[in-house]
């Protein structure tokens, strides 16, 4: 290996984004934020690194194992590099913006870093874009978050989207009513997450038919809701199930072409969620494009507010987008600086020749241009 190759090696899960991917990602982030601003969401920008205890408080605790730490020589306290931006935005809402009128609408975009990637999604650094709606209990808030996420993705060209709606508090509430002990509940939840019918049957004992019913109550939204409402649910869960039904109706009215599925037992990754949640998939794309749902801003005894929101994972989102079209770019031969400036104000990408060239067309081709300035005219290169 040469010294050069050695320096080119990056740690696992980290990569250089090259043209055109880097521009595609930045453009997609910008357009998504722009779309969210259309709904009145203001952008905030939390820092990359925070005090560990603040970053991992409440909802952030779920990400403790995924967070890189370092020591701050100035304050002598431990710092964490953010592994997720949702908790930072919730912190902003409950501290510095605690007096801003509710409901508070905030959006954000930035890079996060995680200690490990998964085998399926090895990225350890990736961009997150998201929005949070804080201080409203209404099902219209849940619907707004979901509709905004899907419309935003459609707006940047993502196709074949599907949204899976879930009800994470359901299993815990059922287990409580059935008086299952903590260890069985934990194992049951794991089995339900894997849709492992055999393990569910074994763990749930006498209640197996109920839980198997829940497993089967997953699929296209309308069928799944019918199955779910046929079950005898505890009151607290029934309220959330009613809300789920209303959210489905609102989303179907707003986005009639969207494929909606409902899976009442899905729980993975929704550890801190308290109500209706959703995951966005795209047909033929591995992994999730984004996820979101209802939570409370702080669970640790402090002041709390109902909130809902979502996060999009830009590495997965980019996989769902069509290849970016090569930009139209014009080569302006040496000593035509003023024409180049005029072309740029007209919206062209204009590359100026820095030294006199013998064959401007060949030079234009070598630099990957699509057009050439010739006799004062911009001409497509094929005919030039």
């Amino acid at each position: 290996m040469t010294a050069n190759a050695d320096q080119a090696l990056l740690p696992a899960g980290l990569q250089d984004l090259l043209p055109p991917a880097a521009a595609q990602e930045a453009g997609a982030v910008e357009r998504l934020i722009q779309a969210f601003r259309g709904y009145g969401y203001d952008r905030v920008k939390p820092p990359l690194i925070e005090f560990e205890d603040a970053l991992l408080a409440g909802a952030g605790a779920a990400l403790a194992q995924q967070t890189f730490r370092l020591m701050d020589p100035v304050s002598q306290r431990m710092l964490g590099v953010r592994a997720d931006m949702t908790t930072q935005v919730a912190r902003i809402a409950t501290s510095r913006l605690s007096r801003a009128p509710r409901p508070l609408r905030l959006c954000y975009g930035g890079q996060v870093l995680r200690v490990t990637g998964s085998q399926l999604r090895p990225e350890r650094q990736f961009a997150q874009v998201g929005a949070e709606l804080i201080g409203s209990e209404s099902e219209h808030a849940d619907a707004e978050a979901l509709i905004m996420a899907v419309s935003g993705l459609n707006g940047i060209g993502a196709e074949g989207l599907t949204v899976d709606l879930n009800l994470p508090p359901l299993v815990a509430a059922l287990a409580e009513r059935l008086q299952l002990d903590a260890e069985v509940t934990q194992r049951l939840r794991q089995a339900l997450d894997r849709k492992d019918a055999a393990a569910v049957a074994q763990l749930a004992g006498d209640h197996a038919p109920l839980f198997q019913g829940l497993l089967r109550a997953a699929g296209p939204a309308q069928d799944a809701l019918d199955d779910l409402f046929a079950l005898d649910l505890p009151e607290r869960v029934q309220r959330e199930a009613d809300r789920l039904k209303r959210v489905v109706a609102l989303v179907q009215a707003a986005l009639p072409d969207l494929t909606l599925t409902v899976d009442p037992v899905e729980h993975r990754g929704f550890e801190y969620h308290r109500g209706v949640t959703f995951t966005i998939y795209a047909r033929g794309v591995r992994g999730e494009l984004g996820r979101g749902g209802r939570y409370t801003t702080d669970a640790d005894g402090g002041p709390w507010e109902p909130a809902t929101g979502f996060t999009l994972f830009m590495d997965s989102v980019l996989r769902a987008l069509p290849e970016p079209a090569a930009p139209a770019r014009v080569y302006v031969p040496h000593a035509h600086a003023r024409t180049a400036a005029r072309l740029r104000t007209d919206g062209w990408q204009a590359i100026a020749g820095l030294v006199p060239e013998d064959d401007p067309a060949a030079e234009a081709r070598r630099l990957g241009c699509t057009h050439l300035l010739k006799n004062g005219d911009v001409q497509p290169l094929d005919d030039a």
Binding site: K195, A197, A198, T261, T279, R283, R286
Partner: protein, 221 residues
């Protein structure tokens, strides 16, 4: 997305399980093209009587990987394989009830007599399932150093590679023939229908109807 991915792909394991699986496939009205049952065929991908369903035939451990990464949408794999990889993207909604066996810890006969498992802090184990083994022993505070083998685990104790093994046991004849004794049962194993999570979510009708069909067949069997 390529057109080739539009067809649903069902990944099936080569070997022993496949024989037990054939009647279930038949009951589910899946008839592979003739080359599928020809052991000499080099073909890897097969069409079926359903124009939008293809079958691939791969090693049993690879079934889980193909399905987890979405290269195949459905598959048949033992829960030993599913547990070993523990891919979050896998669902196993149907227990097919075939390929019954269990995963066990075994050691040589003469070792059993003087062994006291409660005193273990570290064990060396030859296995095809390093992850399950490590988790199993970690849960009771024992560190397991695993030597990964792909077959013939029973040779390991005799040749001094590792004194204990973790392997699938169905009748126990192989253990006996090699003078080994099962000392602990880790988990019961059967074959499951496994499904890629994103495939089930994004194609709820296509994939869901196959899950439903396999469930009916398994319940009837």
């Amino acid at each position: 997305m390529t057109a080739a991915n539009e067809n649903l792909v069902l990944a099936l394991p080569k070997g022993r399980i496949l024989k037990e699986l054939m009647p279930l496939l038949k009951a589910a009205d899946i008839v592979p093209e003739p080359a599928f049952e020809d052991d000499d065929s080099r073909q890897l991908r097969f069409s079926t009587n359903h124009p939008n369903l293809d079958i691939i035939r791969v090693r049993s451990f690879d079934v889980a990987t193909f399905v987890a990464f979405g290269a195949a949408h459905l598959g048949v794999a033992g829960n030993d394989v599913v547990m070993e990889f523990d891919y979050p993207e896998l669902y196993s909604p149907v227990d097919l009830g075939i390929g019954k066996c269990h995963l066990a810890v075994a050691e040589p006969n003469d070792l059993v007599k003087r062994d006291d498992p409660t005193r273990w802090s570290h064990v060396r184990i030859a296995t095809k399932y390093p992850d399950i083994t490590k988790r199993h022993f970690a849960a009771r505070g024992v560190q397991a150093e695993c030597i990964k083998l792909n077959g013939a685990m029973e040779l390991a104790p005799k040749l001094g590679l590792a004194r204990r093994i973790v392997d699938l046991v169905s009748t126990g004849t192989t253990l006996k023939a090699n003078d080994l004794v099962e000392i602990e049962r880790i988990v019961d194993v059967t074959s499951r229908l496994i499904v890629n999570r994103a495939a089930l979510k994004t194609r709820p009708h296509d994939v869901g109807s196959w899950v439903e069909r396999f469930r009916e067949v398994a319940d009837a069997a």
